[in-house]
């Protein structure tokens, strides 16, 4: 809606809440990038910083929910305004979850830094995290531009992330079978991989919110799940 509300304070409120989502999105993007970099470079200080910053992200989600509740109470938004407020609440929840996963990655980085390193897994994880971060950036762009095509593209791209996770899953399983001493670090790395894959799902959910916001309808096509590991059996 390009037209302005007759009550201009309503427009200001809607703009403010969206600005807050974008700011929160920026913090979450930074958390993903920094957590992945800390993991690859075994940078404990950076990992600790990512963990500390998660509190800010959690607080923002709370603020956004308070603001959204106030908007509903005072403005009784309808139609696209209602969908906007609903999408803001949903996206804030998705961003908060992604932030948690980034924080968890940082936590495990500190543990991993104590033990032996596992070959090239961390750079694969970083590539995966970078892809998720790019998807998130695009999802937030799609949100602010009301770009349905871009949002639909993100939903498709999540399959690539699922593929990366599948590959990592097999690789980690192989490492663990080769040498039981790898089990501890590989278990941590596996959780990191799984969490990153989950981040992709939350980004996908944000993209779906964009489609709902613009069209009023949920994307109809059932998502094709790319994660096959829940049915994987490794022959020993």
């Amino acid at each position: 809606m390009e037209e302005q509300h007759i009550a201009s304070a309503f427009d200001r409120d809607l703009e403010a809440i969206q600005a807050r989502i974008m700011k929160m999105g920026g913090l979450v993007e930074a958390a993903i990038v920094d957590a992945a970099r800390a993991l690859e470079t075994s940078d404990e200080d950076l990992a600790l910083e990512v963990r500390a910053r998660d509190q800010v992200i959690d607080d923002m989600e709370e603020q956004i929910n308070v603001e959204a509740a106030r908007l509903i109470a005072i403005r009784s938004p309808a139609a696209s305004d209602l969908r906007l407020v609903l999408s803001v609440m949903k996206i804030a929840a998705n961003l908060e979850r992604i932030g948690d996963y980034a924080k968890n990655m940082a936590k495990r980085t500190v543990v991993l830094a104590q033990g032996p390193s596992v070959q090239d897994c961390t750079s694969a994880l970083r590539r995966m995290a970078r892809e998720v971060e790019r998807m998130l950036k695009d999802a937030l762009d799609a949100y602010i531009q009301r770009d349905v095509a871009l949002a639909a593209d993100i939903i498709v791209r999540d399959r690539d992330v699922d593929q990366m996770y599948n590959a990592l899953f097999r690789q980690l399983l192989t490492f663990m079978m080769e040498d039981p001493r790898n089990i501890t670090p590989c278990m941590h790395l596996h959780f990191i991989a799984k969490n990153t894959e989950r981040m992709g799902d939350h980004v996908t959910s944000i993209a779906e919110q964009v489609i709902y916001l613009v069209t009023g309808e949920k994307p109809d096509e059932a998502r094709i799940k790319g994660d096959v590991t829940s049915t994987t059996i490794q022959e020993i």
């Binding site: 809606m1 037209e3 302005q4 509300h5 007759i6 938004p77 309808a78 139609a79 696209s80 305004d81």
Partner: protein, 255 residues
């Protein structure tokens, strides 16, 4: 069954007041046991259209109505139709409570008396009590039925007018801004009542309060500049309207 029968079928209705084209080619189906809300900015033709449904516009000299309005398949503008009989079937409640300068009892008994709906006084008593109960005002007035209708508060007067309207056992109840002069409590009581009336009647309500339309109706029609812009399920109209003009109006934007 597709659950709801068509009660009123209006096709290509045009209304002119002199040179003013107030309602432009409106076609709409009003289903039975449903609350249908008409919304739209002032002067959009919603009240005029509502008044066509029981021929209230007949009393306005310059008003011309074209098109077809069928009530249960019968043309209400047919020459053989008696407007007084029609209005017993299609009752109306107005914006301002307008009780007759009579007792509470006589206000409600007025319609049944003209239409000869009873044989004994005791039957009339029953009709009056039933109507007052349906309008959720019985408890407040049962001990002072002889008091003038005008002695009641605004909200009570409006519910009295609703009792008067339902006393003739109408099949359709038209309400033109029935809550605009009421406080929030009385509004809530009338809205609750509208929802109960839906069990028996088809209710058509014109309202400027979009929240009220959203709360009480199952179907919503949006009028703009004499046209029926959009008609659909209330839930859909308020979450995802199809027409950009509807969207502009219900979200409070300049259309």
């Amino acid at each position: 069954m597709d659950a709801q029968d068509i009660k009123i079928k209006a096709s290509n209705v045009q209304v002119h007041y002199g040179d003013t084209h107030a309602v432009k080619d409106v076609t709409v189906r009003i289903t039975d046991n449903t609350v249908t809300a008409f919304i739209g900015p002032s002067g959009c033709g919603k009240s005029t259209f509502l008044r066509c449904l029981n021929r209230m516009n007949d009393t306005i000299q310059t008003c011309r109505v074209k098109g077809e309005i069928l009530l249960d398949g019968e043309d209400i503008y047919d020459k053989r139709v008696d407007p007084v009989q029609l209005r017993a079937k299609v009752g109306m409640v107005f914006q301002k409570p307008n009780p007759f300068p009579k007792s509470i009892y006589d206000n409600v008994a007025y319609g049944p008396r003209i239409h000869g709906m009873f044989n004994h006084k005791s039957e009339l008593d029953d009709i009056v009590e039933k109507a007052l109960r349906r309008a959720a005002i019985w408890a407040e007035v049962k001990d002072r039925l002889a008091a003038p209708g005008t002695s009641l508060s605004g909200g009570q007067q409006q519910r009295l007018c609703i009792a008067r309207a339902v006393a003739t056992e109408p099949e359709v109840l038209l309400m033109d801004e029935p809550c605009s002069a009421l406080d929030p409590i009385a509004t809530a009581q009338v809205e609750e009542l509208i929802d109960e009336l839906r069990q028996r009647f088809s209710v058509v309500i014109v309202t400027h309060s979009m929240q009220q339309a959203a709360r009480v109706s199952q179907k919503t029609a949006f009028f703009h500049l004499g046209e029926l812009v959009e008609f659909g399920e209330t839930g859909q109209i308020f979450t995802n309207p199809e027409d950009p003009r509807t969207e502009s109006y219900i979200t409070g934007r300049i259309g």
